[in-house]
Subunit: 368 residues, 2 copies
DNA sequence: ATGAAAGCGCTAACAG
DNA sequence: CTGTTAGCGCTTTCAT
């Protein structure tokens, strides 16, 4: 064994230092970390002891280079949060932001349980820093939330490693994709209002036209109208950002008679919970009673909805599962790169509370 | 130039492939990605074109190995979430979980703005997978939230790279640390109850004895009692998990006369907002009026508190800033490894709402 | 069960 | 401004 000393113990310790100290070869040191069982116990102990004494930590970069896998999965998500607002905040964080938190959590947990760590990077509203480039070189595969990265870049990178698109339509057909059944959920919710509550004069407040989720929900709304033989509106009654403030504004517009028809509709369906909660607040401020004067519904199932007055009827989507599915898809494809692309559509569930007129089984909270 | 072709274009493209195609040296290809300005425009274009055609993506591992920096910062955080509950949930997620989301967000943003990506890994309640080992080899430095990793490992790794401890006491004195002024916040809040509302019969519901934050808050509570000349309790009146359910239980115990003194105290201070909201619910269910019959306060400043009935008086902590400070500290130390350790204590702020007896809406009587 | 040697893909001086 | 030449620290055959 002539693994001649390199530097006289300078800088951070490497396999060479550990090997020298334990009087074994670097290959053995490497084995101790990769497959401990392939090394005799006494030898292993010697190596571990030397490593401990030296404060040795394997270099992820070197391992990655040599083995061509990093043990890291990536996620690109949108960051719409107002940098001004500090948190814990006033509850008006953008829905997409909260949503991303859940997906991150779901992915992190699923990844960890399979031995991967999670590398995350958000795409600024404005700054188009090349996210893909930042992540791609470091991971074994990654997930991108809808509309956060340039399709071109995605296309290029997806030729080199597993990529799954999340929470939006499958922009690139040949990629795995996971989304929730927005359309079906909104259809069911609308049907509930029409069939179970006998409401026929409805209004839908949509999100920005470039929000795939919000558009899908509108399609579901249209479906339900069509199914019930009601007129099918070609466009949402109103549109707004997916924020509480926009919801308030929509409600205000309606109260002021700014809607397409005089007077209030029987029900107001909003594209997400944030907006719905805003509408609830505005109606309360104007003395409009919910659900007596108008039914109100949201979409997402955020905690805030359950605390609203009245509690908000909504559609709950399994946001954490999106992240979990993403990891499953990624790991699966890492194992079988040539497998056919698999689109996953996660089911949603109706949450019927008081804001649509359904009885609330809980002891009515005291009004503030 | 005799950069003889290596393999006939197999596998994922490397600098060699790009160089060959663009008819330049690998050094030039490398330069185009590191300092584009150091390369003449025409040359640069040639390289970029070749890279595009080949679908070239720089290998993070190789870069990391060669340059000894990865451009990645890490975070170890606790994961207490019940895997059963899906999200968006019922609002009873563990406070620590929500808290971690904000820190992640703060760190991610701060990191990105400085050119770093964020690698995250949670420590299971049970599974003691070696987090540090997972992360350490891949990052240029990392932050660990209180009590998520073995102090021994931390000690070892911190000798090799920047490490900052978060949201808890500085367990390792020689490390940078950032925490929130829990003690001062609780002291101020308690003082407000005593001085401004004239309450003297108080009760404090603490968290688990092994929660540093909760313990700090109790110390602040003791401080205020001492300052006001009131008896200083050696222990919290009650203790519980930092959850809504535990808050309900505490309130129930008090209502049932299970407290140390007969009857209700004048004020109930709980170790965090989740618990406080639970207490609010339980009091409402028993017809106990807040704040007329009893004042209630929390700690954290979560959105739920503002929606509660009555709106919850609390102490808001800048959770996102914790993450931002962590990055600042890390980047700073990467630049100056020998700098003295710097402990950062972030200020908190009182949020006075109706649950303590302050009129609502309040033009916040900003004390503290 | 352990060792020797050859890279993995890129950056970093140093030349020119 | 561009090319040459060494490694960076580890995994991997292939021997032994």
């Amino acid at each position: 064994m002539v693994t001649a000393a390199r530097k006289p113990e300078t800088g951070t310790p490497t396999v060479y230092d550990v090997a020298e100290r334990a009087r074994v070869s670097i290959a053995t040191v490497s084995r101790v970390y990769r497959s401990p069982d392939a090394v005799r116990a006494p030898t292993r102990e010697k190596v571990l002891a030397a490593a401990r004494e030296l404060g040795y930590v394997p270099s992820g970069s070197a391992r990655g280079l040599a083995s061509r896998t990093t043990g890291i999965l990536g996620l690109c998500f949108p960051d719409y949060t107002d940098p001004e607002t500090d948190t814990p905040g006033d509850g008006d964080e953008n829905a997409a932001t909260l949503y991303a938190d859940h997906i991150i959590r779901g992915m992190e947990r699923a990844a960890r349980s399979r031995g991967y760590a999670l590398l995350i990077a958000a795409s600024l509203r404005d700054g188009p820093t090349n996210l893909v480039a930042t992540l791609a070189g470091h991971v074994d595969g990654f997930a991108v939330m809808s509309r956060t990265v340039d399709a071109k870049d995605l296309e290029t990178v997806s030729r080199r490693m597993p990529v799954v698109t999340l929470a939006g339509p499958a922009e690139l057909g040949h990629l795995d994709n996971v989304q929730v059944d927005n359309r079906d959920g909104q259809r069911e919710l609308t049907r509930h209002l029409i069939t179970d509550h006998g409401l026929t004069d409805l209004a839908f407040v949509g999100g920005p036209a470039d929000s795939p989720d919000a558009e899908e929900r509108f399609l579901g709304y249209q479906d339900a109208c069509r199914d019930a033989g009601l007129p099918v509106p070609p466009e949402p009654t109103l549109r707004g950002a997916l924020t509480r403030t926009a919801g308030r504004e929509a409600a205000r517009t309606l109260v002021a008679g700014g809607g397409p028809t005089p007077g209030l509709p029987q029900a107001l369906l909003l594209a997400n919970d944030q907006m719905a909660v805003g509408a609830l607040e505005e109606f309360a401020a104007h003395g409009v009673r919910v659900p007596q004067d108008i039914a109100v519904t949201g979409f997402d199932g955020i905690p805030l909805g359950a605390m609203a007055h009245p509690p908000l009827t909504t559609v709950r989507q399994p946001s954490r599962r999106i992240g979990e599915e993403a990891v499953a898809l990624l790991v699966d494809r890492i194992a079988a790169p040539q497998r056919d692309p698999r689109p996953v559509v996660l089911p949603v569930s109706l949450v019927l509370r008081a804001s649509c007129g359904c009885a609330e089984p809980v002891p009515a909270p005291r009004r503030g």
